[in-house]
């Protein structure tokens, strides 16, 4: 089993038999954002489920995404719980709706991924810049030879739909 990777004081543990995350992180270390794609129906899912939630097929392949998406929801943490985040407050965590497979297979479905809103250099972004409807792109935070975390940064593309932020 690889050594745990320490990030902000947290031990991130990905044993060799963790087929949900091990290869996902290896792809991320190669700066590719991948999700599982069903071999039978072609629908993608994240996080990596072991069967297709739409057709129950067991076959899948890794599919690389463009890494582009829109902020679907967000939160701004002022009172950190984890010790490693205490010096980072306020920080913003975003739920990003990826461009691929939006509104499929039902209008309320999409591929959604959680990350922090960061600057292109991976420092936490000014939280005042967070808003639902803002466009983002993935950036990768390298943690070890076999692991990187996907994070999101504002891409500067035109907003998507109605833009809104709390108090804004």
């Amino acid at each position: 089993m690889p050594q745990p990777v320490t990030y902000r004081g947290m031990a991130l543990i990905v044993p060799d038999n963790d087929t949900e995350w091990k290869e996902f992180y290896e792809h991320a270390r190669a700066h590719k954002l991948v999700v599982r794609k069903c071999k039978a129906c072609g629908l993608m899912r994240y996080p990596a489920l072991h069967a297709c939630p739409w057709c129950m097929d067991l076959g899948w392949t890794w599919q690389e995404l463009s890494g582009k998406g829109t902020i679907y929801s967000y939160e701004i943490v002022h009172h950190a719980i984890q010790p490693g985040f205490k010096d980072a407050t306020p920080y913003c965590t975003v739920l990003v709706e990826m461009d691929e497979q939006r509104g499929t297979p039902t209008p309320d479905e999409s591929l959604r991924i959680i990350g922090n809103l960061v600057k292109p250099d991976l420092g936490f972004e000014d939280v005042a810049k967070a808003a639902i409807g803002k466009r983002v792109r993935v950036v990768f935070q390298d943690l070890a030879d076999h692991m990187a975390l996907p994070q999101f940064t504002l891409s500067g593309e035109p907003d998507q739909g109605r833009v809104w932020r709390l108090g804004g």
Binding site: M10, L12, E75, H79, I81, P90, G115, Q151
Partner: protein
């Protein structure tokens, strides 16, 4: 359970003090709460032959509580879980009795929720290794309950125009209820402005949008209507129960469907269908208030108002004592104490009996003034039907409808 409607009851309730310094074990507290519920029901230890509990690795199992009271068990079951477990386990207790496994079940939750194991995720819990499902969100500083749920509320604000001010009314209402509850940990009236001016914890949650963390144990006793007839208290008859009902992706609640939808969407037809009533028939609600907005989300999802109008509903005065359908008349988790939902069922049982403990001069004799000003009453006048809306998280909920 259409054919079981009204055939089972809650006949006894009990709890310990709500504190932030119990100074004793979860076992000691569980024994006290179970004993009080047995005495409340007018039962003997030998009458209780089933025991259940729920916990998160932070409590004592039923088989280590029963023997302290001289109870020999024909059935026991301890499950993992927090909020929304009470209602679900009441349903399982009915199932165990119906199956002939036992006759009377004591169901408890005991937790040193402040001094030992804070559900907020602080202390040792915050430093635990991150693996498996947690990897999708914990590395991004999304670990505590508030952090886990906040995006749901934020999106609800976006989708429906719900405001911080609207949900702050939940804290204001519950604080007014708690002032008249001698047991409540926080007996202080709080205004909407107090909530809005309290510091941010995790936008859109202010400090006063978040519930208390306390040490306490609670217990309810379930038995058949037939057995209940010669017991001490007026039974609270169970009309319907649902739980733990989940959204399609219970593992990652934000991954599937509209995230401003919560599990009550799926639970409401089950529980109202069993009871054969509609929300209009409910006199008192106990909508789980882990946060102000969880109360709001569930009330609208169960149909007490239209979807998206929960903010208006909770800020209209309806949920306050004296209003059309008060919610959490004890003060709930926001003000009375944090019990993972069981105290809200205890409160509704007492409301149906007409015997809530309040600050009315004649409360001890069961005389109520129905004057809800500070230092007075919190008994609702002649309630017929109550409903509990249990919350574990956006993707999991439970519900219970009782009548007198």
């Amino acid at each position: 359970m259409a054919n079981l409607k009204d055939k089972y009851c809650i006949v006894g309730v009990g709890e310990t003090e709500f504190s932030k310094n119990s100074g004793r074990t979860t076992k000691a507290m569980a024994v006290e709460a179970v004993r009080k519920a047995i005495l409340d029901a007018g039962l003997k230890a030998s009458d209780v032959d089933g025991m259940m509990s729920y916990q998160n690795g932070d409590s004592t199992f039923a088989p280590f509580v029963g023997p302290d009271l001289g109870i020999r068990l024909n059935f026991y079951m301890d499950v993992v879980g927090g909020g929304s477990s009470t209602e679900a386990l009441i349903g399982l207790a009915i199932g165990a009795i119906e199956a002939g496994m036992c006759k009377t079940v004591a169901l408890f939750r005991s937790m040193n929720g402040y001094t030992e194991f804070r559900i907020g995720g602080t202390g040792a819990r915050s430093a635990a290794p991150v693996r498996g499902a947690d990897l999708a969100q914990v590395p991004f500083g999304m670990r505590s309950a508030g952090q886990n749920f906040a995006m749901t509320f934020m999106r609800h604000m976006y989708d429906y125009g719900t405001t911080s001010e609207q949900v702050a009314h939940v804290k204001q209402a519950h604080s007014r209820h708690a002032v008249n509850n001698p047991k409540a940990f926080e007996k202080k009236r709080v205004t909407v402005q107090d909530v809005l001016h309290s510091r941010w914890i995790c936008e859109p949650l202010h400090l006063l949008d978040c519930c208390l963390e306390t040490d306490n144990a609670t217990c309810v006793i379930v038995t058949s209507a037939e057995r209940a007839r010669d017991l001490k208290q007026r039974p609270a008859y169970i009309m319907g129960v649902a739980g733990r009902v989940s959204k399609p992706r219970v593992d990652y609640h934000w991954a599937h469907g509209p995230i401003s939808r919560v599990a009550g969407y799926y639970a409401k037809d089950i529980v109202f269908g069993q009871a054969g009533i509609t929300p209009e028939d409910v006199d008192i609600t106990g909508s789980y208030d882990a946060f102000t907005f969880t109360t709001m989300l569930q009330l609208e999802e169960y149909g007490f108002c239209k979807k998206g109008e929960g903010g208006h509903y909770v800020s209209s005065g309806i949920i306050e004592l004296g209003g059309k359908r008060p919610n959490n008349t004890s003060g709930g988790h926001l003000c009375e104490g944090y019990t993972h939902g069981m105290a809200m069922v205890v409160e509704n049982v007492r409301q149906l009996r007409g015997t809530v403990d309040d600050t009315c001069p004649g409360a001890a004799e069961g005389k109520h003034t129905y004057d809800y000003s500070p230092g007075k009453c919190r008994q609702v006048k002649d309630p017929e039907i109550t409903m509990n809306l249990g919350w574990a998280m956006p993707a999991t909920g439970s519900a219970l409808i009782m009548r007198k």
